[in-house]
């Protein structure tokens, strides 16, 4: 395939696909009011879940199965990345990302920042049912602490075992909570196995904060696992 056809065929194809998209675009009119699903959530979320953040309620409860799948995606990715990299015998070399030099400032800054970041992450996922943010965002923030540590000291080793334990326990607890929902409430992942508490307080919305905390831990652990797997080389293990 020569240069022109290699680029021209995709171009033509994408123009055609673009026309499909254009048809979607042209036929789209924003809704005036919430559709039935959304209006159900708008009116029932508080009553049913006790969460302020409707998105959180949907994610953790109504579409909890999706979210369970979602953390499983990360779990899978972490596992596979670990598999992929653990079994590629890297040549011995100096460790480190190689293009980001770690200066004194960064190292010191890291030491100070890491606990703060971790705390902030925890805050984000514990308040997920009240404010924007939640397990995923919080998990990402937790992971960024690990990232910072990696950047400042590329030779740093993390306990894979610990990460994996956190990840697994969180996941297992998540599943068990889900099953408890089947036993004691309306179905798998029903959040009402704990009292809904007072609306707007941190200990409200049933089991949502707990789940989001678990998700935060799990996601944080998974991100960390992926990052460390990508950074570390085999010979260091």
């Amino acid at each position: 395939m020569n240069f022109t056809t290699r680029k021209a065929i995709p171009l033509v194809l994408l123009l055609l696909l673009g026309s499909v998209f254009y048809a979607l675009f042209a036929g789209y009119t924003p809704d005036e009011t919430l559709n039935r699903t959304a209006s159900y959530y708008a009116s029932q979320t508080v009553q049913e879940t006790g969460a302020q953040n409707v998105v959180t309620a949907i994610i953790v409860t109504y579409r909890g199965l999706d979210t369970l799948g979602e953390v499983t995606v990360l779990f899978l990715t972490a596992a596979i990345v670990g598999l992929v990299l653990a079994h590629s015998k890297a040549p011995k070399s100096r460790s480190g990302s190689g293009f980001l030099p770690s200066g004194e400032l960064l190292t010191t800054g890291t030491r100070m920042l890491v606990p703060v970041i971790l705390l902030f992450g925890a805050y984000v996922f514990l308040n997920g049912h009240l404010t924007p943010g939640g397990g995923f965002q919080g998990g990402a923030i937790v992971a960024s602490a690990i990232l910072l540590m990696l950047l400042s000291d590329p030779a740093q080793r993390f306990s894979h075992r610990l990460i994996s334990r956190i990840e697994s326990s969180a996941g297992l607890t998540y599943v068990i909570i889900g099953l408890l929902g089947m036993l004691f409430a309306g179905g798998f992942l029903d959040n009402r196995i704990l009292p809904l508490g007072s609306f707007g307080s941190i200990l409200s919305a049933g089991v949502i904060p707990l789940i989001y905390a678990l998700i935060g831990l799990k996601v944080g652990a998974e991100f960390s696992s992926i990052l460390t797997s990508l950074e570390e080389t085999e010979d260091a293990q």
Binding site: I9, G171, L172, M182, G186, L189
Partner: protein, 1041 residues
């Protein structure tokens, strides 16, 4: 009942639990995996069983304590339960299969596997569109991970291509999902069904969803990436990828097509059909086993997709058909992929290693039979029902395309099977007990499901048929010595004959006698085999089972199933021959082609029923009757090897084993004849475009009779000569039948009996000679008369009988023939028949002369008479021929009477031993008397004059004024009929061979050409994928406008 959600929870929980284990405790991790998968399978199976037995009702599983569409819900109905069982069980078995590699890679790999199975189950059960997407992504990621299990470094590239394509698919899917949500205000699949959109503006959204899901099914031609995975991945994973992922994705597609409404169904039908056809054609050019399996997977899934689109409103019927196909596919494909793990090298021919383990060969055969939809497997019922439904809708072109593609698929698979049976393995089979166990479990599951499908089919449950079970009995008995098995086989045949003979009309009784008792008689020859003779008795008994059932069949379904049994059994038998691989393939291809024509014929005839009594063929509506007739006739004529459809026969009959040749020639061909009998009896004359089809048959029969004889005269190979002669003889029989008068039918009957006797006898005799001389080329023999006198006698009697010279029974045939043609208006076809008669002498004389007369060769001077057990049946046949020639009435009179009731006339008058017709007389006893008296007198005269004749040595002849000393130059044998060839050689032009070769080359050429599009470049695959989407979009928009 435990909640089905536990399947998901158990999978996930166990996956997470694995993370708590130490890295080093792989063993424990593995056991945990197996236990979890076992539990998942248990839940799935228990639901399947309770739902199937009606003990449980389908349930909706709500999550989060809210009703759909506000929370995700799952469903567990019978299809869901069944597919979940398939998925989880495949997962369990694959886990066992991949034990070593899983242990090598550790608990993380096991977790990935578990998540994959969980996600597949979720995909099946979920009723939420976005949840579907999540599960698909899980499947994609887990699959990409498991691809890495393979030690093959190329798997890496394949996995990456898969990821590229999946990205594109998920983009399309997400865009589709969100716009569907926007249009419906709900993500629940059932809500989409409740508010059908059809081809309105919002339909684009559902189009994107559908096409994205269809792309997950690897539709042709947007599937290069999937094939690379099949080729490179670990076989254990490929089994999952094909069986479990394929089934789950297909069910997802089914759910959405059901939801999207009937307007979209043609899309599925079209894509499915194109995929089925395309994949099978491409598979023709494959030499790599796993890639071939990949193509086959793609094709099978395409087929089911087609059914999904076609039968979207059949309810239970859809699950029966699609389920039958899908479950056959799943078991067979998983089984084959697992088998491929035991075979060390990757060429198709390397599967020859399987022969080290007969059980695995049986498994291989089972899987191939399941894939090709042979009875008694579920796909057989499914195919039957599908074609009948298509016929009911009047979609005849669809039937044709479907059956042709199915035929190509069968050819691909049987080509492979042939290689496995006939080629030499380069590398031995891997020894792995757990792998073997897994394969055998799959095989057992296949048989078990055959029972289930048979039981729910509302038709006959084929697995419970006694003859079939009898044939299968020989699988475990195969460890016994051949002689013991032979005794059992003969006893079984005789017993079955006496059990089933009552209540049959004389015509059927004769066919039953030829097929079952005749089989027992021929089996006497099998006593000569030494050792165990593994793999002979099951196919042989399968063939006889098919024939026994064929004769007693009362409905179209029974008939067709029996037909398939005998076809398959005989294929395996023929394949046993020494150089029979290509011939067996051509045999099975033609036979299945013919069988498919039968299937189509029955389907068209059934007019909305799913099975009809054979007798109802006479009540088919007049406007479709001719087409039914043509289809059925094609099916039967393929079996009788009418000229044009004959090219499979010479090789198949000639290369078969000594005792198999008479079975497939003497007996098997009668199945086609029997079919024609039934067809003509029920349907009579039919006209198509003003052509009387029976006249066409007369012509075909005459042409076969003539050309077959001419070709036989030109053969150097004794068994090929006999094979071509069979074509000629069957031509006579077809001719007689098609005359559509009493005597014509009697003629056909006479030929059926005679041909069975003398062809069996001749094949046995020639086979016996071959056993001793180790060649089939006649010019290499010569002068064997003194060494093999009994064989000579049977050939002598055989050829006299066959040529129609009085006094032997062949003459009776000719006499009836002349009487028959006197009472028909057809004249011209007779010319060919008249020409065929003397040509018969040519090949017959050649046969006896070049083998038994002339000069014996030095290397054959010490050969012994053929083995006793081969001679014995021949002598019985000789005795029968003589008796039958003198007293034809003992067999024919009742048949004649019966045919008389059909035609309402009595053209023959049987007075004592004399048979009179309106035109002449046949007095067999008198003929015998005169000939014997004259012969003996003359002989005595000669003895009186010449009693002291001395036997002289071989070269005591004067040849060109000198004594020859080399038999090679003195035995006039090679190209015996050179002058005839000079004059009539143009008839030898291989017209039909070139035609079929051309068809085959065209298909292979297409395959070779098209597969070049699979460049191996991931980007190109992505481009093809999008091209596919755009093309389908344009086509469906064009179709809807």
């Amino acid at each position: 009942m435990v909640s089905p959600l536990l399947i998901l929870a158990a999978g996930l929980g166990a996956a997470f639990l694995l993370g708590l284990l130490r890295d080093s405790s792989e063993r424990m991790a593995f056991y945990l995996t197996v236990i979890a998968l076992g539990f998942m399978s248990f839940v799935g199976l228990s639901w399947t069983v309770s739902l199937a037995l009606g003990e449980a009702q389908p349930v909706e599983i709500y999550t989060a304590g809210a009703r759909p569409p506000f929370a995700i819900n799952l469903r567990m109905g019978l299809p869901e339960a069944a597919l979940t069982s398939v998925v989880t069980l495949t997962g369990l078995l694959s886990a066992v299969f991949m034990r070593r590699d899983l242990m090598r890679l550790g608990r993380r790999a096991m977790a990935v596997l578990m998540v994959l199975i969980m996600a597949l189950s979720g995909l099946i059960m979920t009723r939420d569109l976005f949840n579907l997407f999540v599960f698909i992504e899980l499947i994609v990621i887990a699959s990409a991970g498991l691809v890495l299990l393979s030690q093959d470094t190329r798997a890496l590239g394949a996995g990456f291509k898969y990821l590229i394509v999946s990205q594109v698919i998920s983009i399309l899917l997400l865009v589709g999902v969100i716009f569907t949500y926007h249009a419906n205000g709900s993500l629940n699949i059932d809500d989409i069904a409740a508010t059908p959109m059809g081809f309105t503006g919002a339909s684009l959204a559902i189009f994107l969803v559908l096409i994205a899901l269809v792309l997950e099914l690897k539709p042709f031609p947007a599937n290069g990436w999937a094939l690379d995975i099949y080729e490179a991945a670990h076989p254990g994973f490929s089994a999952l990828f094909s069986a479990a992922s394929g089934s789950a994705a297909l069910f997802a597609v089914l759910k959405l097509f059901e939801a999207a409404g009937p307007d979209w169904a043609p899309l599925a039908t079209g894509i499915g059909l194109v995929t089925f056809v395309g994949a099978n054609i491409l598979a023709l050019a494959q030499d790599h086993d796993r890639r071939l399996l990949g193509y086959s997977s793609v094709g099978q899934i395409g087929l089911v997709l087609m059914v999904v689109g076609y039968g979207y409103d059949w309810d239970a019927g859809l699950y029966y058909v699609a389920g039958g196909l899908l479950i056959s596919h799943a078991i067979a494909k998983a089984g084959l992929f697992w088998l491929s793990g035991l075979v060390k090298a990757r060429k198709l021919s390397d599967w020859a290693a399987l022969r080290q383990n007969p059980a695995l060969v049986v498994a291989f055969a089972t899987f191939i039979a399941m894939l090709t939809g042979l009875p008694p497997f579920p796909a057989f019922y499914a195919k039957w029902t599908l074609v009948h439904a298509m016929a009911d809708y009047g979609d005849y072109p669809l039937i044709a395309i479907f059956l042709i593609a199915a035929l190509i698929e069968a050819a691909v698979l049987f080509r492979w099977f042939g290689m496995a049976i006939k080629r030499e393995a380069i590398r031995p089979l891997a020894y792995n007990l757990s792998h073997e166990t897994v394969v055998l479990i799959a095989m057992t599951a296949g048989w078990a499901l055959s029972f289930v499908w048979g039981a729910i089919s509302g038709l006959d449950n084929l697995v419970t048929l006694v003859p079939l079970l009898f044939a299968l009995l020989f699988l475990p008995l195969d460890i016994l010595p051949a002689r013991i098995k032979n005794v059992i086989a003969i006893a079984g045949l005789v017993l079955w004959f006496f059990l089933s003979k009552d209540g049959l009309d004389p015509l059927r009784l004769i066919f039953l006698t030829i097929m079952v008792l005749g089989g027992a008689l021929l089996l006497l020859a099998s006593f000569h085999a030494k050792g165990r003779r593994m793999g002979f008795y099951t196919p042989a008994m399968l063939m006889f089972a098919g024939m026994a059932l064929l004769v007693t069949a009362e409905t179209s379904f029974q008939f067709f199933a029996a037909w398939e049994f005998l076809t398959v059994g005989s294929y395996f038998l023929i394949l046993r021959g020494h150089d029979s691989e290509p011939h067996a393939l051509s045999y099975i291809t033609f036979s299945l082609g013919g069988a498919f024509a039968l299937l189509a014929g029955f389907a068209v005839a059934s007019e909305g029923q799913f099975v009809i009594p054979l007798a109802n063929l006479s009540e088919v509506a007049p406007e479709i009757a001719p087409y039914v007739f043509v289809l059925l006739a094609i099916g039967f004529l393929t079996k009788t090897a009418i000229m044009g459809l004959h090219i499979w026969l010479p090789g198949a009959h000639a290369e078969a084993e000594t005792d198999v040749s008479p079975m497939v020639s003497g007996i098997l061909l009668k199945a086609g004849l029997f079919g024609l009998f039934v067809l003509l009896m029920e349907m009579g004359r039919q006209e198509l475009y003003g052509v009387d089809l029976t006249v066409l048959l007369v012509w075909l029969g005459a042409i076969s009779a003539f050309i077959g004889a001419v070709l036989a005269a030109f053969q150097e190979d004794a068994k090929r000569l006999l094979a071509y002669s069979s074509i000629s003889q069957m031509g006579y029989a077809v001719f007689g039948l098609a005359l559509m008068n009493h005597l014509g039918w009697l003629l056909a009957m006479m030929f059926a009996i005679n041909h069975f006797v003398y062809k069996s006898m001749l094949f046995l005799a020639v086979g016996g000679v071959k056993e001793r001389t180790h060649t089939k080329l006649m010019y290499k023999m010569g002068g064997l008369i003194t060494l093999m006198p009994y064989s000579f006698v049977s050939v002598l009697v055989g050829i006299i009988a066959m040529s129609g010279v009085p006094p032997l029974s062949g003459f009776g045939g000719r006499w009836i023939f002349y009487n028959a043609i006197m009472s028909t208006d057809l004249r011209l076809p007779m010319i060919l028949i008249f020409m065929a008669g003397p040509v018969g002498f040519l090949y017959l004389f050649r046969l006896i002369h070049t083998i038994f007369l002339g000069q014996p060769k030095d290397e054959l001077r010490k050969v012994k008479e053929a083995p006793f057990w081969i001679i014995l049946p021949q002598m019985i046949f000789v005795a029968f021929l003589i008796a039958f020639a003198a007293l034809p009435g003992m067999v024919l009179q009742r048949v004649d009477g019966y045919i008389g009731t059909l035609f309402g006339d009595r053209p023959l008058v049987w007075t004592g031993r004399i048979i009179d017709s309106q035109y002449g007389t046949w007095n067999p006893v008198a003929i015998w008397g005169v000939i014997i008296v004259v012969f003996v007198t003359v002989l005595l005269l000669l003895v009186w004059m010449n009693h002291n004749a001395q036997h002289v040595k071989q070269f005591n002849i004067v040849f060109s004024a000198e004594r020859p000393f080399k038999p090679q130059t003195t035995h006039f044998a090679w190209n015996f009929f050179a002058p005839y060839r000079k004059a009539m050689g143009f008839l030898e032009m291989p017209v039909s061979t070139s035609f079929w070769t051309g068809v085959s080359n065209a298909l292979h050429g297409t395959a070779e050409f098209s597969r070049k599009f699979y460049t191996g470049n991931g980007q190109t695959y992505a481009v093809q994928l999008m091209l596919f989407v755009v093309a389908v979009y344009l086509i469906s928009m064009g179709a809807s406008s």
